[in-house]
C-alpha cells in the first residue's frame, strides 16, 4: 500500500486555561489514503472540528497542538510557516464548510470567486480560467453554468451554494479534501445529491477525503473507514461495516442504538374519541411590500387539514420551506392564519381574542427547536417555569412547588431551579423547555423540531421522555420534524408537506412502507443510511 496522504500521529491539542477541559483532543492517530473517505464521527464537544482546523492550520491563537505529528505526504504540517501553509491550502488541501452562505463572499459572483483561486494558484490565461471554471461547474452538476458564473451567492439555493463550495475546493485538484459537516445545513433530498456528488468526484479524482459528521446515516452512506471520537478521545476506528454493524466499544454501541430506525414499529395503538384539535383548510399567505415597494405575496401554507385525538401523536414531515413550522405557529397563534378554521375542543381558536386567547394558549404549548435560544439567558430557569402559572394567577409558592415536581418529572434535579440557562447542556435545556410547557397543564403539545438540534444520544433520551409524558398525561402531540427516522418512531400518523401543501397523509406505517406520492417516495429514498438498520445492528 502506498503512503497515506494525511497521517495524524498521536496528536494532542491543548486548550487555553479556564476551558472546560485541558485538551481538546488527546492521542488521536489515523491515516487517510488516496481515494478513500475517512469519517470522523462524534457528537458535539467531541473535538472533531478541532482536528480539521489543526490540519488546515486554522486553530485559534490560544489553542495549540501540544504533541504529535500531522504529515501531509512527506511534509510535517506543524513545522510550516504561515506563508508555506497558505500555499498548501487550496493547492494540496481544500476544505468545505457547513454553512455555504457564510463561507462564500456575498459581494463577488460565484465565477469570480473560482477565478480568483485559479489566478492565485495557476498560470492560466483569463479565457482558460473561465473555461476551467465552467467545466468545474458542469462537473458538480450545476444547471446553466454560464448563468451561475455571473450569479451572486444569495441568488442560489443552499444546495447550489454547497456545490459552488465543492467546485472551489476541487478545482485545484487537491490531494486532500476536508469536509466539515458539509450537508448538515441541507435538506435530506439535497443532502443525498451532494453526498453522491462528493463520492463520485472523489472516486474519479482519487482525492483523499476527511469527512467530519455527527450523523450516523451520512457515515453509512459515504464512509470507507470510520474513527469514532468522544470527549476528545479516540474510541474506535475501523472499516465502516465493522464499526456500524459490529461495534466493539460500549460508546459506539450506545450511539448506534440511539439512531432511530426508519421502519416504523408494527404495533401502534389507534386513538379513538373526538379530536382535541381540528383544523380545516388552514392557510397562511405573507404579503410584503409597503409604501415604496411592489406588493408581493408568498403562500407559506395552503389548505391544511388535521385532526388530533387525545393521546395521539401526529407528525408533520417536510423539508425547509414546506410550511410545517408555519402551521405550528398558526396553531399557537404566534402568527394569525389568513384562512381556515381551527377548533380546540369547543373553542374556535382562529377568532379568539385577548382573554379567551390567553386561556386557549394555556391549552396548547409549544417546544422550539433551538435549546440555546428558547430560554431567556437572563432569567433563572425556575422563574422561566413558573412564569406561565403566575400569568394565570397561581401563587408563587404553589407554582414553585409545582416547578420542583416538574423538574423531577423531566429527570432534572429540583435544586438547580435557581441557575441560569447557560449552565445547562442542550439536552437539559430542552428538558427545561418541556417542564415550562407542562407547567400550564396543556392538552396539546407542539414540538417544532424539538429534538433536531440535539446529539443523537440526547435525542433518544428526550424522545423517550416525551413518550413517557404522553402516556402519563394523555397528551396529544403535534410533532413537526424534517427527520424521517424520528417521525417513524414517534408518530401514530404523519402528514407530508411540500411547498406549503399537504401531499400525503396517513398512518405512519402505511406512509413509510408504501408511499403513494412521488415526493414522499423521493424523501424516503434520500434518508441517509437506509441500508443500515442501526438499532438492530447494535442489539
Amino acid at each position: 500500500m502506498s503512503a497515506p496522504v494525511l497521517s495524524v500521529r498521536d496528536v494532542t491539542i491543548a486548550l487555553p486555561h479556564g476551558a472546560d477541559r485541558e485538551h481538546a483532543v488527546e492521542h488521536i492517530s489515523f491515516d487517510v489514503n488516496a481515494g478513500e473517505i475517512l469519517c470522523l464521527l462524534g457528537e458535539s464537544g467531541s473535538g472533531k472540528s478541532v482536528i480539521s482546523f489543526s490540519v488546515m492550520g486554522l486553530l485559534p491563537d490560544n489553542v495549540r497542538v501540544a504533541s504529535g505529528e500531522i504529515r501531509l505526504g512527506d511534509v510535517n504540517l506543524l513545522s510550516l510557516t504561515p506563508t508555506q501553509l497558505r500555499e498548501i491550502r487550496g493547492d494540496d488541501v481544500a476544505m468545505i464548510f457547513q454553512e455555504p452562505m457564510t463561507a462564500l463572499n456575498p459581494v463577488m459572483t460565484c465565477g469570480d470567486q473560482l477565478d480568483e483561486l485559479l489566478a492565485e494558484h495557476t498560470e492560466l490565461s483569463m479565457s482558460e480560467r473561465k473555461a476551467k471554471t465552467l467545466a468545474m461547474f458542469e462537473a458538480v452538476k450545476l444547471p446553466e453554468p454560464e448563468r451561475i458564473f455571473s450569479s451572486y451567492p444569495h441568488q442560489l439555493s443552499g444546495g447550489q451554494r454547497q456545490r459552488i463550495m465543492i467546485a472551489m475546493a476541487l478545482i485545484l485538484e487537491p490531494k486532500l479534501l476536508i469536509a466539515d459537516e458539509p450537508t448538515t445545513a441541507l435538506d435530506v433530498t439535497t443532502q443525498a445529491e451532494v453526498l453522491t456528488l462528493i463520492k463520485t468526484l472523489q472516486r474519479e479524482r482519487g482525492t483523499a477525503v476527511l469527512f467530519i459528521t455527527h450523523d450516523m446515516g451520512v457515515v453509512a452512506e459515504i464512509a470507507d473507514r470510520v474513527v469514532v471520537l468522544q470527549h476528545g478521545k479516540q474510541v474506535e476506528a475501523g472499516n465502516k461495516n465493522q464499526v456500524l454493524r459490529e461495534p466493539r466499544e460500549a460508546y459506539t454501541q450506545m450511539l448506534i442504538a440511539s439512531v432511530p430506525g426508519i421502519e416504523p414499529p408494527a404495533e401502534r395503538q389507534t386513538h379513538a374519541g373526538s379530536a382535541v384539535l381540528a383544523i380545516k383548510g388552514l392557510g397562511k399567505t405573507y404579503s410584503s411590500g409597503g409604501w415604496f415597494q411592489k406588493k408581493r405575496e408568498t403562500v407559506a401554507a395552503r389548505d391544511v387539514n388535521l385532526a388530533l385525538r387525545p393521546g395521539e401523536t401526529v407528525g408533520i414531515v417536510g423539508e425547509s420551506g414546506s410550511g410545517k413550522s408555519t402551521v405550528a405557529r398558526c396553531i399557537t397563534r404566534l402568527i394569525d392564519p389568513t384562512m381556515g378554521e381551527m377548533m380546540l375542543g369547543g373553542t374556535q381558536l382562529d377568532t379568539v381574542h385577548r382573554d379567551s386567547l390567553k386561556l386557549a394558549r394555556k391549552r396548547i404549548q409549544i417546544i422550539f427547536q433551538d435549546p440555546y435560544r428558547s430560554l431567556d439567558p437572563r432569567q433563572r430557569v425556575g422563574e422561566a417555569i413558573i412564569e406561565g402559572p403566575l400569568n394565570f394567577g397561581v401563587s408563587r409558592e404553589v407554582a414553585m412547588a409545582r416547578a420542583r415536581e416538574l423538574m423531577s418529572f423531566v429527570r432534572l434535579s429540583p435544586d438547580v431551579l435557581s441557575r441560569y440557562p447557560n449552565e445547562f447542556s442542550g439536552g437539559q435545556r430542552q428538558r427545561i423547555s418541556i417542564a415550562r410547557a407542562l407547567a400550564l397543564d396543556p392538552e396539546v403539545l407542539i414540538c417544532d423540531e424539538a429534538v433536531s438540534a440535539l446529539d443523537v444520544s440526547v435525542q433518544a433520551q428526550v424522545l423517550k421522555l416525551l413518550e413517557e409524558i404522553q402516556a402519563k398525561l394523555n397528551l396529544s402531540i403535534l410533532f413537526i420534524t424534517h427527520d424521517l427516522r424520528v417521525a417513524a418512531q414517534i408518530c401514530d400518523r404523519v402528514i407530508v408537506m411540500q411547498k406549503g401543501l399537504v401531499v400525503e397523509e396517513g398512518a405512519t406505517r402505511d406512509v413509510f412502507l408504501s408511499p403513494q406520492h412521488a415526493y414522499t417516495q423521493r424523501l424516503l429514498a434520500s434518508a441517509p443510511g437506509r441500508g443500515f438498520e442501526f438499532h438492530k445492528a447494535a442489539a
Binding site: P60, T332, L334, Q365, I366, D376, Q379, G388
Partner: protein
Amino acid sequence: MNATFKRVLKNGAVRFGLIILSVLFFIALSAPILGTVDPAWLDAVNMNQKPMAQVDWTGPDNQTAPRTLIMGTDSFGRDIYSRVIYGARVSLTVGVTVAIVSLIIGTFFGLMAGYFRRVDAILMRVMDGMMAIPGILLAIALVAAWGARLSTVIIAIAVPEIPRVTRLVRSLVLSIREEPYIEAAVSIGTPTWKILLKHVLPNSIAPMIVQGTYVCASAILLEAILSFLGLGLPSEIPTWGNIMAEARVVFSSAPHNMWFPGVFLGLTVLAVNVLGDGLRDTLDPKFNKRGGAR
C-alpha cells in the same frame, strides 16, 4: 451575574476609566474641603497671577493670609484652582444626568418602536426628523428660548441624544423580538408589558450601558462647548467651558487659564470613553475579540 461583574472588573480599560472617574467624583463631591475658596470670590489685588504664585490673599471673610495659588488667578482675581474643582461638579452632573435622562426616554421610545410595528412607522419618522437637526443648534435654540439654567442645559443636551438612543434600542429590540424565548413567553400567556420589562429589556441592557457612557462623554463636551460659546450656564457659575471662554481673551499672556480646565475636561472625557470601550469589549458579545490565526 456575579461572574459577569468580575469579568468586567478584570478589564484594564474598565479599571483605568473607573479609577480616573472615581477620583473626579471624589474631587467634585469634596470640593469645599480641598483647600478651595468661593469660586465666585474675587481678590482684585491678585489679578492674573501665575500658577504656584505665593501671595497674600484676601478671602471672602476679608481676612488676609498668605496662600499658594496652585493654578493662578484669572483676570478678575478669582482662584482658578477653586473654579476648576467646582467646575467638575457641573460637568459630571450634566454628563451623568444627560446620560440617564436620554437613556430612559430613548429606551422607552425604542422599546415601543421596536416591538409595535404601528408605533414604529410614526415614531421613527419623528426621530428621523430630529436627527436632521444638528444637535448643537437645537441645544442653542432651547437654551435661548428657556434661559440658561442647569436644568435647561441638561434638557437641551439630552434632547438631541434621544433619537440616537432610540435607534439603538429599537434595533436591539427588533432582533430580540424574533428570539424563540419571546415566542415562548407569548405562548405561556405573558402579557406584552411584562415581556418588554422582563425579557426584552434585560437582554438589551449591556449595549445600552455602553451607549450611555458615550452619551455621557459627548454631553460633557457639549456642555463645555455651550459654555464656551456663552450659551451655557451664566458666567458667574464656574464650569470648565466658562473658565476657558474667559481665558480666551487673555490666552497669549495667561495660557494657564485655558490649560487647567482643558486638561480636566480632556481627562474626564477620555476616562468615560475608555470605560465605555472596556464595557463594550466585556459586555457586548458582538465585539468579543476572536483570537484567530487567519
